[in-house]
Symmetry: C2
Subunit: 333 residues, 2 copies
């Protein structure tokens, strides 16, 4: 476990400054205090909390999502959540869950008996039994990438997929591409639906047809590419927008295997900007989800729900990250 | 101006408790401190702030919206914003603006030269010149009921109109109504569009046709009713969903004038739940916008934007408030 000295070394400040930051002393700036607290969480520092504050616990449930190492999608989301929660003296437990666990334990009961005041749920599948239970839960709940209608205790948090895919298409259109393919993620997912709708609108706005043989649903894994890229290439695609970065990796590999160079022959755009996207060959142009900010926001919303502010939906802006997997369209013969 | 004693009297606590609440003393509960601060803002108390905090100012710009008395739509929104801002030691100025003022003053320049760190904009019209400028503003900005695409400094805040209108239609369908009319607010408004789309989807979901002579756009004022209600009644409407409570007031008056009783002959549902809605004759069934919570949320989002969390959109849940202007459908001959 990190000590106060470790934190001081990392930040290049004195031990007493770190101590002031952790203890809420008033003679250091807000910015410095924030940096100390954020770094303390990041380095795994923990301490006995103030005795004035009763035990307050929140929980993050995670399914179908990797988060344990810094390379993985969920890592920064969890970190951001813990950073904002720590500042307000909440304890946070991280619990990986399975469908079987959800069958055994009722959602509300599980939170109550374990003393959680609210929860943040990431990666749940639409058919999970807890999703059904969220329609009537009385526990403040933030749900990543999923919307529950009619329950003021549950808020949907995500990145604005619509704006993200629109950015991706516009980027390719500006590079002169017309035969733009879209390899989406899984069917039956709220974000896949949003991305499909956004792709179709953005193409229409650019007066480009959406060709049936240039769009497909896959899964959110690299392997999806091999089933669809050959068809896209025969149909004359000069660019492929992908449902996430892993799919984009598969698309790049599949193009290369078939003698198409990226980006000279085919431009490829990902979604997410996971940390390895910059290390792909070529480095991936992608639509970034601001994951640390998503995590911070998840805590802020949970805090609002706990205070009876019935937020239904919060979306964050995506950001186009231009790297080397996209280039001006060179028409093929 | 309210004194500490006034606040103490209102809350029924001692002057020293109020003083502790205002000064952040640690020996009163969080809940009590919050109540003291909220009441202080509500009663117009102000004091010299702590000398440690530099001057921090936010601004609320208001156009086309009344907010000065407790009966008016904007009042609770402004109050909620000030309550949350006060707690974090921000000063808040409220500035009514006009289109002419927007032509004279550039948005960013006006904020900068007056020392504002961010702003909350309410009631602006789509063609206002500041709306155009928001596409590129660098100032953290929360915009009520309007969406600006592509700028991470601007967030859209509103009530989920889609869910609200769906609730209104479902409420009427459950009462046996089939010939449901919709008198929307103004054309060329984001929320009117959302409400129109929601009305059509909710009717479709209930397997009811959307009849051309049962839907119309008016303006967000009572006077709209007289142009459309006669047509709705001839077309056999047994219920009218309205774009806001003022329109609903006009609809009730127009029905009554023409010998139709509300709710015996025609059910009427409003939107907003402004404070006078409960005093209509009959008291209005309506879809409530949680205005104090919207104001609190506006501050919270502005604070997030200032800390570079690029929130794009936040919606709050509406709530069906059942009063006496709706009743089971009695088919007319």
């Amino acid at each position: 476990m990190a000590t106060i000295k470790d934190i001081a070394n990392r930040l290049g400040v004195s031990v007493s400054t770190v101590s002031k930051g952790l203890n809420g002393a008033s003679d250091i700036s807000d910015e410095l205090r924030q940096m100390v607290l954020d770094t303390a969480v990041e380095m795994g520092y923990s301490t006995k909390r103030s005795k004035k504050v009763e035990n307050r616990k929140l929980c993050i449930f995670i399914e179908n999502m990797n988060y344990e190492t810094i390379d993985e999608f969920g890592y920064d989301i969890v970190l951001g959540f813990k950073q904002n929660a720590f500042r307000r003296k909440w304890d946070v437990d991280i619990l990986p869950i399975t469908p079987a666990f959800q069958e055994e334990e009722k959602y509300d009961t599980f939170l109550l008996k374990n003393g959680y005041c609210g929860a943040f749920l990431m990666g749940l599948a639409l058919h999970d039994s807890w999703i059904k239970q969220l329609e009537n839960t009385t526990m403040p709940t933030v749900l990543f990438d999923n919307f529950i209608s009619g329950n003021p205790n549950v808020c949907y948090l995500g990145t604005d997929s619509y704006e993200g895919i629109t950015m991706a298409v516009n980027h390719l259109v500006n590079l002169g591409h017309k035969n733009i393919a879209f390899l989406n993620g899984s069917l039956y997912s709220l974000v896949s639906d949003q991305r499909q709708e956004a792709f179709e609108s953005a193409m229409a706005a650019a007066s480009l047809p959406v060709q049936k043989d240039l769009t497909a649903y896959g899964y959110y894994v690299s392997d999806s590419a091999k089933y669809h890229v050959p068809g896209f290439l025969s149909a004359g695609a000069t660019a492929v927008v992908c449902g996430n970065d892993l799919i984009a990796k598969g698309v790049i590999d599949e193009c290369t295997k078939r003698g198409f160079r990226v980006p000279e022959d085919v431009s490829v755009v990902g979604f997410d900007d996971i940390s390895i996207a910059a290390t792909f060959d070529p480095p991936l142009t992608t639509i970034r989800q601001e994951r640390n900010e998503l995590g911070r926001c998840a805590y802020d919303i949970l805090n609002s729900l706990i205070h009876h502010i019935p937020i239904s939906k919060t979306l964050l802006r995506p950001k186009l990250i231009e790297r080397e997997s996209t280039a001006r369209c060179a028409h093929r013969d």
